[in-house]
Subunit: 358 residues, 2 copies
């Protein structure tokens, strides 16, 4: 199997090996120590100060998006949501679900957000800005630094879903004035899916601790409290947490810059070579995590996905809904090498010979 | 490591080996087929009819308890909750959290529920009965058949948290008139923690589909809908789901009766031998999943836990809170043999020699 989807991604042998270990009992000092070390390492990789806290949730990235909205905002707030695709829309759906007031900046698919988009918006009427650092459905990387500056100037609480951007694109928690940073285990961390992480600024901790949190499993106040001693309110995905600990230690040795450079290198290698095919890049503002491609008339993106999977055992990432025949994506996170892309290109070449790709 | 805790439990080599495999992309027909086969197998092991549906959630068992209360009940309902320990109390806390009216039958720690407890209760004023099939904190197994009959006679919606009872104690979904049955991956299924399962009767599906579900991640209506085609709304713990599929196939071959008998045999083996020690059984109505023991005056349950762990690499299960020094528990689920209990008894003998146990 060769997997270029955007999660679950290819895992390295160390992570896989740990998946074969017994999962220990976790209400122990040993496990608490591991959890606290994870907090320190994630903080450091996100370039966040020592007061920033990490919450580890057992569930998908959407659980963390959901829990963030539920715990940080109330009906008294008003959110500005950058909506450029499926995951921006997901934040709108979550706000709708709980009746939290919001306005969306609705972008074209593939469009990035610029200062122009804010021209007719009175930011003083909002309390929070919510964005997916990269919109995974289109591969657009937003300018988080620019948005963070806007938040600072206008005293907006800044929520950044970096589920697929963390460790792939540059995210500087403190410098970008981020209050909440979300990521998930099955993205650039290259672990099995099942774990999501929420990094909370002091302002975020304050909001969480002063909110009524009308939720039980997703109660972040309790998670922050239990997290002080390296524990979680409910049985966590202990196995994945141990894999996370190992992975964070290895990434910390390499350093965050080199880690991001790896995705950047793979993305560049792929994009240079795919340029000669008759596909269209969806965006100019590309995340390192993934490249989204529009197929020309007469070609089916879904068919490319299916042919690669059934004949070559290669997974790319199809888009859902209306775009499923028009767009497919190729990821640059996880345990991938340039040689893996060569394998993909050999397969694409074959599909081109057969007229499936033009 | 030898782990007698009640989750995560010891895994067998097949499950562990699968933990070392790549986690595949999951929006595929192959994965859908696996999910649908899981549904069929869980239904069959729970002795449930073909109309019963399985929801697979990524999260701990508490997520499933929480989602059940949120999706099946509203403020118009009134619940009767059997509260005999930490997990009964958890259901009360969840109902409190969402303002869902309830009354609790508060039992002594270790006490079972009998028809007498219902004598002064007007069941006609309730819409649902909620119980933990076995109260994992005390090891009490409740009479689910008796409770199910009460529910049938009084038209009560019957929620059974069988998180640690499923596959360890006898649960007959249809015969016991169960509407919701909950379990978790890290109990008798002996998988890593991270997955919880909710089995829904037709009546449950109706309640879920007619409820407004004021929740996003925990929206069971959407889970039922996507589950029709073997998919989940959000990225599930794919790795654990594949381990679940393998495990269910193997348990299905053995058969549910033999599977339950295994826990029963281990429990009996342990209880016969522990009887000669100066511990007190917490309950007469014992679950096959776990034995809870009260230590005599002058002995510390917490110390037993710590000595076993640090010197013998053996984990038993401490109780939390006020009982942490008085009660410890020994589980009978997971990949355990009689020989493993012999190892435990050797260690206990040593602790007795040293006067740590009397």
């Amino acid at each position: 199997m060769l997997n270029f989807s955007v999660g679950p991604v290819m895992m390295d042998s160390e992570t896989k090996q740990l998946g074969a270990e017994e999962v220990p009992y976790f209400r122990t000092d040993d496990f608490s120590r591991i959890m606290l070390e994870n907090e320190t390492m994630v903080r450091s990789l996100a370039l966040a100060n020592d007061q920033v806290r990490l919450i580890t949730l057992t569930g998908s990235g959407t659980l963390a998006m959901d829990a963030t909205i539920l715990n940080c905002f109330t009906k008294e707030d008003k959110l500005l949501i950058i909506n450029g695709g499926s995951f921006g829309t997901r934040f709108c759906e979550i706000a709708d679900c709980y009746g939290i007031p919001y306005e969306a900046i609705n972008l074209q698919f593939g469009e990035s957000v610029t200062l122009d988009h804010f021209e007719n918006i009175d930011l003083a009427t909002f309390t929070g800005l919510v964005v997916n650092a990269d919109e995974t459905s289109s591969g657009v990387l937003y300018d988080i630094e620019m948005l963070g500056n806007l938040c600072k100037k206008n005293n907006l609480f800044f929520v950044v879903d970096a589920i697929s951007a963390f460790l792939a694109d540059e995210i500087r928690f403190d410098e970008f004035n981020i209050d909440i940073l979300i990521t998930g285990s099955q993205k650039a961390l290259a672990l099995p899916p099942g774990l999501s992480l929420i990094l909370c600024s002091e302002k975020a901790q304050e909001r969480i601790n002063h909110n009524e949190s009308p939720t039980y499993y997703q109660n972040l106040k309790r998670a922050l409290k239990d997290g002080e001693r390296g524990q979680t309110p409910f049985t966590p995905a202990v196995g994945i947490i141990l894999q996370l600990h190992d992975k964070l230690k290895r990434i910390s040795k390499v350093g965050i810059e080199k880690q991001i450079q790896q995705s950047n290198d793979l993305a560049k290698y792929f994009r240079d070579r795919i340029a000669k095919y008759n596909f269209e890049f969806i965006t100019d503002s590309k995340s390192n995590a993934v490249t989204a491609l529009r197929v020309p008339v007469g070609v089916s993106a879904r068919q490319i996905f299916k042919e690669l999977e059934s004949r070559f055992n290669i997974w790319v990432c199809p888009n859902g809904g209306a775009l499923s025949d028009e767009v497919f994506r190729v990821g640059h996170i996880g345990h991938l090498t340039k040689g893996d892309y060569d394998t993909l290109f050999s397969a694409l070449e074959q599909l081109q010979k057969e007229g499936i790709i033009k």
